[in-house]
Symmetry: C2
Subunit: 463 residues, 2 copies
C-alpha cells in the first residue's frame, strides 16, 4: 500500500514557483496555503526573494533547514527536473507537480523522465498538470482553486483540471464539506487507486467522489475500489463513456478511456455509483454524506401535491424502488390532522391545504415511527404556505425527533422556494428544486447498499 501519510500530514511544505507577482499560479497557491491556516512550516522557494507574503523565502528546497515532506512545484515544465533533483537532495517525499506541458501536450518523454527521476530519490509524484490538493483536517489548501473550502467528510479526486477546480467552487456553493480535494491530472505516478486506499482508512472521509476519464491499471482500480466500497460509498463521474466522448478524452489527456460497456461493468464490480452528470454526482454526494444509512426498506414520501408525489414515485420506480403502503399507525396519526379526502397510502399526500404545522407533524410522526426507515419530503409552493416556514418545520421536526433517518427534500416554486432550499442546504438537509432529484438522491443511498451487497457476494466477504 502506498503510504500517503506525509502528503496529508506533512511537517513542512515548500512552494516552488511563488513570486512577487500575485497572479502567478505559485503565488496563489502560497497565499491559499497560508490563509487557509496550515499549521506546519511553509517555505516559499525563490532565488530572487528573501521574503514572500511575510515568510522567509529560500533559494532552493535543499537550503531549508527543517524537514520538507511536500514540494509543490509550479515552474515551467522544462525546469521541473531540476526542481526534482533539488527536492531529492532535501529528502522531499512528495512532489506535487502543478506544471503542465507534459503528456497532455504530447510530451510523453519528459513525463516519464519526471517519474524516473523522482523515484530515484524515493519521491512520489502527484500530477503533473494539476491544480493542487486540499486536506482540511490538516488545514492544507495547496491549490490555486477557491480558498474557503468547507471542512467535511467528502473526498473528491479529479482527473480533470478546469472542471475539477470549478467543481471545487461548487462544493462551497452547495455547502458540501470536504475532507480532501485531490487533482490527479496526468496520473504519471500516483493515481486514483492510491488515494482510494488512503481514504479507505481515513476517519475524516465517509464518501468518495471521483471524476475519471481513464485509469492506468484497471484491475488494481477495481480491486481496491471494491474493497473500499464495502466501507464507504464511492461515486464516479465517468467521462468519456461513449465512443465519441472517449475520443474527446483521448485528445485532451492522452489517456485511453476504454469502451462504454467495459466501464459500466467495471464500475459495478467495484461497487461504484456511476453518475453520468455532475449534477447527479453532487446530488448523491449530499444525500450520502449528510444522511445515515437506512435501517430497512420502508421509504415514505410526504407531499402537499399529488403531481409531485407521482413524479417521485416514477423516479423511484425507475431506480428500482417500488413504494409500499405506509405503516398503518403512521396513517392513523396523520389522519388526525389531514383532511378526510387525503390519500395517505404512499405517497402520503397531506394536500395543498397543508400549513407548515402539518409538515412538522407528519415528518415528526414518520421519524418517530420505528417501521419507517427513510423519508422523501416534497413541497409545492402554493398560495397558502410560505416555503421558508415549511423548511423550518422540516428542520424542527428533524431536531425535535432526536432521530437520525435518511431524508431528502424536494421543493418546487419560485424565489422564496429557492431561498428555502438554500436554508435547508445550509443546515445539511439535502434539498433539491424538483421532486425527481430528491427521489433520485434517496435512491442513490439504496443503490449503494445493493452495490455493497453485490461486491460482498462477489468477493465472498462479510462487511
Amino acid at each position: 500500500m502506498t503510504d500517503l501519510k506525509y502528503l496529508f500530514y506533512p511537517r513542512g511544505i515548500a512552494v516552488v514557483g511563488a513570486s512577487r507577482d500575485p497572479n502567478k499560479i505559485g503565488s496563489i497557491i502560497l497565499k491559499n496555503l497560508i490563509e487557509y491556516g496550515y499549521q506546519g512550516r511553509i517555505y516559499p522557494i525563490n532565488p530572487y526573494a528573501n521574503e514572500l507574503m511575510g515568510l522567509r523565502a529560500y533559494p532552493s528546497i535543499s537550503s531549508v533547514e527543517g524537514p520538507v515532506d511536500v514540494a509543490v512545484v509550479s515552474v515551467p515544465a522544462k525546469n521541473v527536473l531540476d526542481v526534482i533533483d533539488d527536492a531529492g537532495k532535501a529528502g522531499v517525499k512528495f512532489a506535487v507537480v502543478i506544471s503542465s506541458g507534459f503528456k497532455e501536450v504530447g510530451n510523453v518523454e519528459l513525463e516519464e523522465e519526471l517519474v524516473r527521476r523522482a523515484h530515484k530519490y524515493g519521491i512520489r509524484v502527484l500530477g503533473p498538470n494539476i491544480f493542487g490538493y486540499v486536506y482540511t483536517p490538516s488545514r492544507i489548501n495547496a491549490s490555486f482553486g477557491p480558498r474557503d473550502v468547507i471542512p467535511g467528510n467528502v473526498a473528491f479526486i479529479s482527473q480533470s483540471g478546469a472542471l475539477g477546480i470549478a467543481l471545487m467552487g461548487t462544493t462551497i456553493l452547495e455547502n458540501i464539506g470536504v475532507s480532501s480535494i485531490v487533482s490527479i491530472g496526468n496520473k504519471a505516478d500516483l493515481e486514483d487507486a492510491d488515494f482510494l486506499e488512503f481514504f479507505e482508512n481515513d476517519p475524516n472521509t465517509s464518501v468518495i467522489l471521483l471524476y475519471i476519464e481513464g485509469v492506468r491499471d484497471g484491475r488494481r482500480f477495481i480491486e481496491i475500489a471494491g474493497r473500499v466500497s464495502l466501507k464507504k460509498p464511492i461515486i464516479a463521474i465517468k467521462s468519456g463513456r461513449t465512443e465519441a466522448g472517449a475520443k474527446a478524452a483521448a485528445s485532451h489527456t492522452g489517456s485511453l478511456a476504454g469502451g462504454p460497456v467495459i466501464w459500466e461493468t467495471a464500475l459495478k464490480q467495484a461497487g461504484i455509483l456511476f453518475a453520468k452528470t455532475v449534477e447527479d454526482a453532487f446530488d448523491w454526494v449530499k444525500a450520502l454524506s449528510w444522511n445515515p444509512i437506512p435501517a430497512g426498506d420502508m421509504l415514505v414520501v410526504i407531499t402537499n401535491g399529488g403531481g409531485a408525489g407521482v413524479q417521485a414515485t416514477d423516479t423511484l420506480a425507475e431506480n428500482g424502488i417500488i413504494l409500499t403502503r405506509s405503516p398503518k399507525d403512521l396513517v392513523e396519526e396523520i389522519k388526525r390532522f389531514a383532511p378526510p379526502f387525503a390519500s395517505l397510502a404512499n405517497p402520503i399526500d397531506i394536500t395543498g391545504m397543508a400549513p407548515d404545522e402539518w409538515y412538522y407533524k407528519a415528518l415528526l410522526a414518520a421519524l418517530k415511527n420505528p417501521d419507517v426507515h427513510a423519508i422523501v419530503v416534497l413541497y409545492c409552493q402554493t398560495a397558502v404556505t410560505n416555503p421558508m416556514g415549511v423548511a423550518k418545520s422540516i428542520l424542527d421536526a428533524v431536531k425535535d425527533s432526536g432521530i437520525k433517518k435518511p431524508i431528502t427534500v424536494g421543493m418546487v416554486g419560485g424565489v422564496e422556494t429557492f431561498e428555502a432550499i438554500k436554508y435547508l442546504t445550509k443546515n445539511n438537509i439535502p434539498a433539491y428544486p424538483t421532486p425527481e432529484r430528491a427521489a433520485a438522491a434517496m435512491a442513490s443511498i439504496y443503490r449503494y447498499l445493493k452495490l455493497r451487497d453485490y461486491v460482498a457476494k462477489r468477493l465472498e466477504v462479510r462487511y
Copy 2:
C-alpha cells in the same frame, strides 16, 4: 374545433367567490386579475358586498349589464351548480371552475352533472379542481398562483394543481416568459387537445409545455398533438409513466394514466418531446423558446475545460448527436489566439488560460461562420477568469454578430458562476450550471426536428 376565443379574449370576466376576506381563493384571483392589468370589465360576484377591491360587486352574474364571457367560480362544490344556472342565464361562455370536491374525491356524479348542466346553456367548463388560467396577451391572470408571470411565448398546460402552481413560480424564477398557463385539473370538459388546437394557431405561442398524467381521448390527443408538433414543439412531463407511478396518479386524480410503454409510443407518434423530469422540461423549454431552429447539423462545442467538453460530448452522443470536426476556417481563426497545444477539433478547447476575450472571439467566429449551425458554450470557473466577464463576452458576441443561431451555455463553478448564469438567463440566453444540461438542452432542439420529420412522414404531409 373548440372555439376558445372568448376564454382568452373575453369582454368581461365575473369572479364568483371573491369576498372581503383577502385569503379566500376567490379574493386572491380577483386581486391577481385586477393587478395584472386585465383591460376588460371585471365583475366581482358577491350578494353580501356592494364593492370589492374598488370594483362594484354584483349579487349574481345575471344581474351584470354588460357581456360576461368568462365566470371564474370559486365556491364550495355543492354550490357550483347554482352558479352554473346563473351563468347560463347571463350568457356566459366559459365556466372556469376552481372549486375542488369533484371526481378527485370520488364525487363523480356531481362532476358529470356539472358538465351536463353547463352544456345545456352552451357553457364550456375548464376544471374543476384547478388553480385558474393566465393569458398574457390579454393581461389575464385569473389564477391564485403568483401574480407577476412574465409575458413570453411559452404555453403551459398543467393537469396537476399544486405542482402546476409551484411551476408557475418557477417560470418567474427562471425568467421563462409565458403566453399562457392553463390549469386543467379534472378535465371534466375541456382537455389538453382543445388547448393544443388553440395554441396551434396562437401567434403568441411558439412552444407548448404539458404536464400530463392521463388523457380522456387518447386518439384525439395524438392526432391533434401530431398536427400541432409540425408547427411548434410540444414538451410533455408525463407523470405516472411507471406502473407504480400510474397507481399513485390514479389515487390522486382518479384518471387512468395508461401503461408506460403505450405512453412512450403515443408521445412519439404525437411528435412530443418526452421529459421525465420537471428540470429537463424547463431546460428544454428555455432552449426551444429562446432559440431559433438550427439551419443544419454542424454543432460546435466551445470550452475552456477538457473535462467539461468530454461530458458534453458524452451527453450529446447519448442523445444521438455525434460531434464532427469543426469547420477548417473556424479552427484557423481560433488558432490565431489560442495556444498551440489547444485541441480544436470539436469540442474546441480554448484551454484553461482563456480570458473573457477569447470567449468573445471564439463565439463571434462560430456565429459568423456559415458552416456552423449551433453552438454549446462551456465554461469552468478558474483562477484566471471571472464568470461575469465570460457571461458578458458571450452576450456581446451574440449581440455584435447580429446573427441568430441556437446557443446553450453551461457554466460550472461557485457563487460568481451562479450569478453569471442568472445574468445570461435574464438576457434570454439559455444557461445551465453543468455541461450536461447545456448539451441535453441543445439536443432537445435537434430531437424536436427529428420528431417533426417522423410525424410528417407518418402523416404523409409536408410542413
